[in-house]
Amino acid sequence: MLYTALSTLFSHWRHHTGQLAALVMGLALATALWSGVQAINAEARDSYAEAAATLGQDRLSRLTGPNGGDVPLADYIALRRSGYLVSPVISGELRLGEARLRLLGIDPLTAPPEADPPALQDETLDLAAFFTNPGLILMTEETAGGPLPPGLPEIVISDTIPPSAAITDIGTASRLLGQTDPSYLLIAPSQPVGLPPLALATDLHLQPPDSAADIGRLTDSFHLNLTAFGLLSFAVGLFIVHAAIGLAFEQRRATVRTLRALGLPLRTILISFGVELAGLALFSGLIGLILGYAIAAALMPGVAGTLRGLYGAQIPGTLGFDPIWALSALGMTLAGAALAGAQALRRTAALPLLAPANPRAWATASGRAMRRQALVALLLFGAAIGLALWGGSLLSGFATLAALLVGAALILPATLGLILRLASKSVAGALGQWLFADTRQQLPGLSLALMALLLALAANIGVSTMVGSFRGTFVGWLDQRLAAELYVTVADSDEALRLRAFLGDRVDAILPIASVERPLAGRPGEVFGQADHPTFRENWPLLQAQPNAWDDLAAGEGVLINEQLARFADLDLGDALTLAPALTLPIVGVYSDYGNPAAQAILGLNRFTDMFPDAPQTRFALRLPPADVAGLATALREDFGLPTEAVVNQTQIKRFSLQVFEQTFRITGALNVLTLGVAAFALLTSLLTLAGMRLPQLAPVWALGLTRAQLARFELARSLILAALTFVLALPVGLCLAWVLLAVVNVEAFGWRLPMSIFPADWLRLFLLALGAAALAAALPAWRLARMPPTTLLKVFAHER
């Protein structure tokens, strides 16, 4: 019986292959966009992890010699004997003339798994040869191709090593660098139970994980952005599915009624629909997965480029396949199809056995539905405003987004209806009046596609506004924060003294930047000592400040805090902040500090040195004429002997961050175009299905004296009018979306708020794109209408009694 029901219902698709294609493509595209974004995200996260692990295992605490130098071998052996899980690393630089190679010697036998470089997990690597003399050395093909110091062991190519660096066994590194003591010891995060804390067991200096990679934190924001976007794309796809399913159910009403009249139980029919839907969803989901994988693979080089810019690390620009990822994407598709089908199933269940199949009743009902939807939308807007103002969590931020978008989608048909009604009342010509009135009449049939278009456009505007604002703000902020030309980090105070001597009068100013880690307002934080210098006074980005903030700071009578701290601890100008048991100062200013999650405070340098005499002064900002920067940077590396990463050129950092944003733009741009394409496709399928039902509306107009070509042009115009109106409505929605992302979600997720910038030129581009999409979607139905044989139009007037 089930089989009979299924085959009868399914035979519908044989005559409606276009509809079937729309349904499958809608589901597939929704899955593709969602899973593509997920794949990119997952892959990028893995890559960060790899990069971090390869570059310096900076996620683990380390032990170094008492003044930052090497660890005496005896101390290492003593710690291991007591049972501590520490692993030695020898790092250094091999040079010969031009050639320089950063060498990282590790001990794979004792290295904690968190620090295991991915290159060593490669199964083709001969680990025995790695351990034993003469050993192996791992580097990228690029590094291996460049000038290399002599005397290296056999080279193994690995993609996951940073440029100009190599990884080898600690024994090999020891031999090559002529160094027996480890440079530092990595500490495994979990130590055997029962041992006293490491800090009590040794005199070595305990160095917590490196938290200096500020720019890296930007990537979290980038991912949040992409995830939100992926969800939006999925939602757009679901609208298509909803439309296609709704239509398929609508058209099979008569069949359902016949089947029921023949004695088939409603349950069997509903189960058949369910089975059919699940089968289609599974099939389309699989296609979507393949598509999503293709999208991700196509965009991956961009992501890899982004990461290269961020970490200076080579990330493989290829994708792995993760079954969990695939399964979760399929699950989303099934859930989405169920959601879209639920309403249709409910309608089928409620279908009276004897009611005539009257399309008119459906249309009048849709007028009521539109008003009801508008009411729900208003409630949702209220909820969105409430959540945005008083929500106060990341979850409520996302709930605001959802309420805003769903509300905007729901209110769209009613708003468009109102505008078109006013337009048709106010135009003079008979044709203009008809065009608007007729367009209004198409709204119920097109509303889902238009909602998809609205969401696509709003997402487009929202996400590009967000990324653009992010870029503008961040680059501007970098300009201010990195006002000095060079930033130099030295190993200890001895080297700091030598540096001062070396620099002499080659620079205009040497500005020490000292810091200690201190809890601030009950949270882990950092206190900086900053010299009083115009560099800071003129450039430091203060969000709020008291009139003589800089004088107070220089005099040691006030403190500056970052925005994060001000928000977390709800601190205002004039509030007192305790920096140390004996030091409580009023807050005289708040500065923006993007990309950093931790609390920070700045103290005048003199006061800082008084309070924290032991804090090492190892970082310096150098002011010098821009023309001399490159020369001095080279001199600091070559003549003074600082490692490459200890000399930071601010133009380099800016270039990196700009690169990050260019890549982000490229990826969001590509996704935007795809989402818009999906919405255009939804519009096309809706127009095609409407085209058949529309003949009774068009035939009289044609008979009364219009040509088919004119009608076709009106069809195009109708589509353009709807797209233009939808764009106009999408604009405020997109801006609200951006505002919520920047001012609510970002604050909850990262503790800082971004000022919003708007980009009207982008809107114009998008507007044209939307018109283009609408014209493309209407082209086929319009072309068909223009070539329609008159007899097809004439059939409307005859027979069908």
Binding site: T364, L431, W434, L704, F797, E800, R801
Partner: protein, 222 residues
């Protein structure tokens, strides 16, 4: 005086089926003509060719001295707009426009809109209380009256009606036809009407019967 409509040797086939096999007829201004014939005999087809809604395979249709065969799509649309009033069996009205906009639509298209004329037609047809409604809110008989008002509003030379009362019950149909004939006579238009009913056909000036692709004079009152 030249005839309003001169048809010579008109042929039309749908694939292998020859529907019209050389139909000729003339119709003078102000004349009314009833066209009868079995279902499928080609009555609607003939009406469509006369109304410039479709093109014949052979022969000619001259309307007011203009050969329809020489016109392109735009020219045919202009003839329909300016010269012809149409009343079909169903779906005559534009569903998105109100009754008053429907009545005025064609007249406004051809630039001959006369609000007073429209108001008079609505009054005569008894639909003046309905002008703000939409077609879907009217009964079948009311819809046909609106269609008649629209066909006349443009002051066409020729009105083509294809079973205008076919979907109506007898009493309503008679009432609608009475109004149509009265108004046609008042405005001086010619009328060609397809009907299955010889009773209705008897009320028109001339009667022709279409059978096996050719016209013959219809038997009176059969």
């Amino acid at each position: 005086m030249d005839s309003l409509l001169v048809i010579e040797n008109l042929t039309k086939a749908y694939g292998p089926i020859d529907v019209l096999k050389g139909v000729s007829l003339t119709l003078d201004a102000g004349q009314t003509l009833a066209l009868t014939g079995e279902s499928g005999s080609g009555k609607s087809t003939l009406l469509h060719l006369i109304g410039a809604l479709d093109q014949p395979d052979g022969g000619s249709v001259m309307l007011d001295g203009v050969d329809l065969a020489g016109l392109d799509d735009t020219g045919r649309a202009r003839i329909r707009r300016d010269r012809i009033g149409l009343v079909f069996q169903q779906f005559n009205l534009i569903p998105s426009l109100t009754v008053s906009s429907n009545i005025a639509f064609q007249a406004r298209l051809s630039g001959r809109h006369d609000p007073e004329h429209c108001a008079m037609l609505a009054r005569r047809l008894g639909i003046d209380a309905l002008v703000t409604r939409y077609p879907e809110e009217l009964s079948g008989g009311q819809q046909q009256r609106v269609a008649i008002a629209r066909a006349l509003a443009n002051r066409p030379a020729l009105i083509l009606a294809d079973e205008p009362t076919g979907n109506l019950d007898e009493a309503t149909g008679d009432a609608v036809l009475d109004l149509l004939l009265d108004l046609v006579r008042e405005t001086g238009a010619a009328l060609m009407m397809v009907t299955h009913s010889t009773r209705l056909a008897a009320r028109l000036d001339r009667r022709l019967h279409l059978s096996r692709g050719s016209l013959t004079a219809a038997a009176q009152g059969a």
